[in-house]
Amino acid sequence: MQTNVDFQDVFFQHHNGVFRLLFRIVGSKQEAEDLVQEVFVRLHDHWDDVEPTKTKAWLYQVATRLGWNTVRNSNRRKRWHYESGQHKAMTGNDVSKKDLDTSIAVRAALAQLPERQAHLLMLYSSGLSHIELAEAMNVKKSSLSQMLFRSKKAFEKVYSPPIGIK
């Protein structure tokens, strides 16, 4: 069982990582912030059930699920890349045109993949270790390599970089 003091530590330790992951999925800062809160509320509720060594994998798994649910709701997945691109254009942040175009193309490619593969690639790009990835995806470590390989291949197949970018 984890103690109450740890919760704050876990929050401060993983907040940015979870936020980054959620931002990558939903493409909106406001929504990502709301979802981060939701993720940690859930962690608070399940505090006693989560093994301390698996907290990170648990957090990332819940965050990915919540993120995808948000994207999926109201059929947003199809419009996903478009909206997030627009959102960023509106926020007025200093984003280079090249990065913006690439991110739109990446989202478009991910949206075409089966959800589990997109899910895995998101987690993979968030810098989770192979053990953590296997835990978060609920698969054995041995089958993870193959899954990852196939996801990457599938991504490469559907991803077409924007014109002028390699």
Binding site: H15, K29, E33, W58, T102
Partner: protein
């Protein structure tokens, strides 16, 4: 040696055994297919390192303040655990009226739904008997074969049991029927099949009634009838052919099986038991007896809780 992606992947990540590594290397040197796969792996890794995925972070900076987020979370958690303060008496009366009138809207709806429905003649000859108008699914699916009643001994009180089975994705493949346990709430789902079985030592009359948590009475057997159904001495099933398919009303419900030597009506039962229907349930559960005797009736009750089938997610 076979060409295996997984082994190649392990090789690529340098996590394969030294022994395997050597065999693999020998194989790769001679196999063009595996050479191509390795090349793909190399390219893919290169692509992911150069990272089109990392461009998803475009617009991420600056990150929101962790402290602010922590305070927001604290506030949210605290808000959930706020204990309600004591309200002034008029507010309490208001709340009480609001709370106790919750049944009003469903009752009105039920009145409109049930009245025209109750006047229709009961459907006869349907393989599956059910309380609501049969849906397409009901007609297509057939009830499970429930266990037959074993040899019986006529002695004293009737034996009354309830069996239930879950329908499977494919027709004709139901779960193994199970017997509802006494003094336990049986968890059922909409669409489950229920059948009652009896052993009576004499020719008798039976009426099976369901009482929902909103206080509505339904007659299950004879379907939508108001008078008890005659049964012969010995073992048998109710309904005799098929089973009841449960509708999708959720929550607690109690089934009562009434058996009597004399013919009786629902009206007589209501006049005798009135508001004590619920008390019956409790007293049956408290006592150690499977059946309770009230006047001319032997009564057996089954408490069920209906809830939507939930998909259980594996724990991370």
């Amino acid at each position: 040696m076979d060409c295996k992606e997984a082994q190649l992947q392990a090789h690529w990540q340098s996590s394969a055994d030294a022994n395997d590594e050597q065999t693999l290397q020998e194989h790769v040197d001679t196999c063009t297919g595996c050479q191509e796969t390795l090349e793909t792996l190399q390219q893919l890794d290169h692509m992911f390192e150069s990272g089109p995925l990392s461009t998803l972070d475009a617009g991420l900076e600056p990150l929101p303040s962790v402290e602010a987020s922590w305070s927001a979370l604290q506030a949210r958690l605290e808000q959930r655990s706020v204990v309600p303060t004591v309200l002034p008496w008029w507010e309490q009366v208001n709340r009480w009226i609001e709370r106790s009138m919750w049944w009003f809207a469903p009752a009105v709806v039920a009145l409109f739904v049930l009245v025209p429905w109750a006047t229709q003649p009961p459907s006869i000859g349907l393989h599956t008997t059910q309380r609501q108008a049969p849906s397409v699914k009901t007609v297509l699916s057939s009830p499970p074969t429930l266990p037959t009643v074993p040899k019986w001994i006529a002695k004293g009180a009737p034996v009354l049991d309830m069996f239930y089975a879950r329908p499977a994705a494919r027709p004709q493949q139901h779960s193994t029927p199970q017997r509802a346990r006494r003094k336990q709430v049986t968890l059922l789902h909409p669409g489950d099949f229920v059948q009652f079985q009896y052993k009576v030592p004499y020719n008798a009359y039976v009426l099976i009634v369901g009482l929902t948590r909103t206080g509505t009475l339904f007659v299950y057997t004879p379907f939508q009838g108001r008078t008890s159904q005659a049964i012969k001495a010995g073992p048998g099933k109710l309904p005799a052919a098929g089973a009841l398919e449960l509708d999708d009303e959720l929550g607690e419900e109690s089934f009562f099986v009434f058996v009597s030597k004399q013919k009786f009506t629902l009206k007589q039962l209501q006049a005798r038991l009135g508001p004590k229907f619920r008390a019956l349930q409790t007293s049956l559960q408290r006592t150690n007896r499977s059946t309770l005797r009230v006047d001319q009736w032997w009564i057996r009750s089954f408490k069920v809780h209906k809830q939507v089938r939930r998909k259980v997610l594996p724990r991370p």
